[in-house]
Amino acid sequence: MTTRLDTRFADLAREGRAGLVTYVMAGDPDRETARAILKALPGAGADVIEFGMPFTDPMADGPSIQAAGLRSLSGGQTLKKTLEDIAWFRQGDAATPIVLMGYYNPIYIYGVERFLADAKAAGVDGLIVVDLPPEEDAELCIPALEAGLNFIRLATPTTDDKRLPTVLGNTSGFVYYVSITGITGAATPDFGKTAEAVARIKRHTDLPVAVGFGVKNADHASAVARGADAVVVGSALVEALKGSLDAEGKATAGTVGAVTGLVGSIASGVRHARKAAE
């Protein structure tokens, strides 16, 4: 079965360039603005969209994404609304892959079977659920694969050669390499080591490898893009959004542009990279 993610990564390979995966939080800073950002991302240069499902207790996220989740929740965002937002996006864009990213409890409470059916119907392509390691595959990963959704796993610097086969076992769509041991938005990694790590993962799988955590600007993205199939940018976009808000934390006329402007700049870094290397 070929998914939107498979198609998109095949297209990128044909173009001979790395892709740009952009993370934004659903409902941040309010539902309408988040929808406007979602809609504008592909035009700004996003090849794949990760859409964050807000959670009160995001244990692997740094302060930027924690704050984004709380802004979203205080505006009344729910998992049901997040799925509706994606269905709305799909009315105007049938090609850009969307991956939902978050934590398990809201999905568990929504009901796994119902969630998978609704996500599939809304046009979701894949899931990244941070607190579901391979040891818990029976919870969501296996049912998701059976429902025709990709389940994207995170590999980290602590995932050694012995563990990699376990992590890659039920992974599909792409592999998300977390370039540091740490939380989102933390220190900038050593991009030389990142390329080595990607090469190591590629010895175990044919799946595309996207690299994230610590990518903050076009230069970082360009450095990562030389050694990976895609670059993931999240906290930097969320910070750009936050920087555009007014004193009460509300969206301004510049909010959508603050995010798409940074996406455009990083996208040019990503596209420039492969040319620079050739």
């Binding site: 207790d57 244990m59 409470i109 818990e136 995170l154 977390v178």
Partner: protein, 405 residues
């Protein structure tokens, strides 16, 4: 929900996946998985190593001051006019609570594993103080995460930790209480996973913590069993303990789970009442996934975690250990709850009648002893776990009672 089948033993859990029925498990980020598997293997090896067991026994005797007495509370027994009431005196341990039993086991394990940096979360500060104490004793670096709200309301314990050489990090994220301290400790662990040992303070978190912490706390019930046989020549008829995460309770309960004649009661914090703000996960929550395990949690209909509320900072957590969730569903343990007001009344009663100022946590158990004891026959023997002393709560209680210190 269908009633689960009753097992042959209530003491054989968890299974190899860290499950107690549907509860428990390993719901953590991939970065932590290799470490959690390493910890599980190291613990399995240590518990079977006579040298580790002997080292722990020596420190229990000489550093903690075990065994703690099993004390016949004569005046409380007379006061209620029902069954005989015994108190397991965990408040007499070094550092003033049962928390030290667990920390000793984990710190000795950290040393075996060559980890020199210890992190911990704390709510009321009792686990933080116990961790800071053992890190001082063994010369280890100690970082304690504590919600900024708790830092403000538990100032004496913050100062104690600092005196003991620990770094106390006030956590500003979320609601700034115990659950956020645990999030922040997990974030530290994800970042410093190679060098750091996470010393969790209760029977929660990813496998193997719920089982490991229970094993370290089971010394409470093992001693109680021996002491009761020596003093009364038979087993007790009932056990009762307060439950936040539930480590003192499981420590008392576990060695008696397979004795069907022993009734077992856990007491959660009902705060302002179960229909208002409270911290009673079983009585007022439902099963969900947080902090590495599936268990009863307080949450809204969208699966977002809600704050616990209790007069007692040590019970102010929106979850409970997974083994308790299972013991509840299977019907082996009965979970009750006591409100802030009931706990406050029991706090004063126990102080005046028995000459022991209990921790506010234990006052919740005492409040239910006050209800149950008069309904039991005079030859019924009830044991309450007095898991901590109330000195830390004196300023807070004084303020509530309108006394200026």
């Amino acid at each position: 929900m269908n009633a689960p089948l009753k097992p042959n033993s209530f003491r054989s859990g968890p299974d190899e996946n860290g499950r107690f029925g549907i509860y428990g498990g390993r719901f953590v980020a991939e970065t932590l998985m290799p470490n959690i598997l390493e910890l599980e293997a190291a613990y399995r090896e240590a518990r079977n190593d006579p040298a580790y067991v002997a080292e722990m026994a020596g420190h229990r005797t000489h550093f903690i001051g075990r065994p703690s007495p099993l004390y016949f509370a004569e005046r409380l027994t007379e006061h209620f006019g029902g069954c005989k009431i015994y108190l397991k005196r965990e408040e007499l341990n070094h550092t003033g609570s049962h928390k030290v039993n667990n920390v000793l086991g984990q710190i000795l394990l950290a040393r075996r594993m060559g980890k020199k940096r210890i992190i911990a979360e704390t709510g009321a500060g009792q686990h933080g103080v116990a961790t800071a104490t053992l890190c001082a004793r063994f010369g280890l670096e100690c970082i304690v995460y504590m919600g900024a709200v708790d830092v403000a309301r538990q100032a004496p314990n913050v100062f104690r930790m600092k005196m003991l050489g620990a770094t106390v990090v006030p956590v500003q994220s979320g609601a700034k209480t115990l659950k956020d301290a645990m999030n922040e400790a997990l974030r530290d662990w994800v970042t410093n996973v190679e060098t750091t040992f996470y010393c969790i303070g209760t029977v929660a978190g990813p496998h193997p913590y719920p089982a490991m912490v229970r094993d370290f706390q089971s010394v409470i019930g093992e001693e109680t069993r021996e002491q009761m046989l020596a003093q009364e020549g038979r087993l007790p008829d009932s056990l009762i303990a307060c439950v936040g995460g539930g480590s003192n309770a499981i420590g008392l309960f576990h060695p008696f789970l397979d004795d069907p004649s022993v009734e077992i009661y856990g007491v959660e914090a009902a705060g302002h009442g179960l229909d208002k703000l409270h911290a009673a996960s079983i009585s007022g929550g439902k099963p969900g996934v947080l902090h590495g395990n599936r268990t009863y949690l307080l949450m809204d209909e969208d699966g977002q975690i809600q704050e616990g509320h209790s007069i007692s900072a040590g019970l102010d957590y929106p979850g409970i250990g997974p083994e308790h969730s299972w013991l509840n569903d299977i019907g082996r343990v009965t979970y009750l709850s006591a409100t802030d007001d009931e706990a406050l009344e029991a706090f004063q009663l126990m102080s005046k009648v028995e000459g022991i100022i209990p921790a506010l946590e234990c006052a919740h158990a005492m409040a239910k002893v006050a209800e149950l004891a008069p309904t039991k026959p005079k030859d019924h023997i009830m044991v309450m776990n007095l898991s901590g002393r109330g000195d830390k709560d004196v300023p807070q209680v004084a303020e509530i009672l309108g006394t200026k210190l």
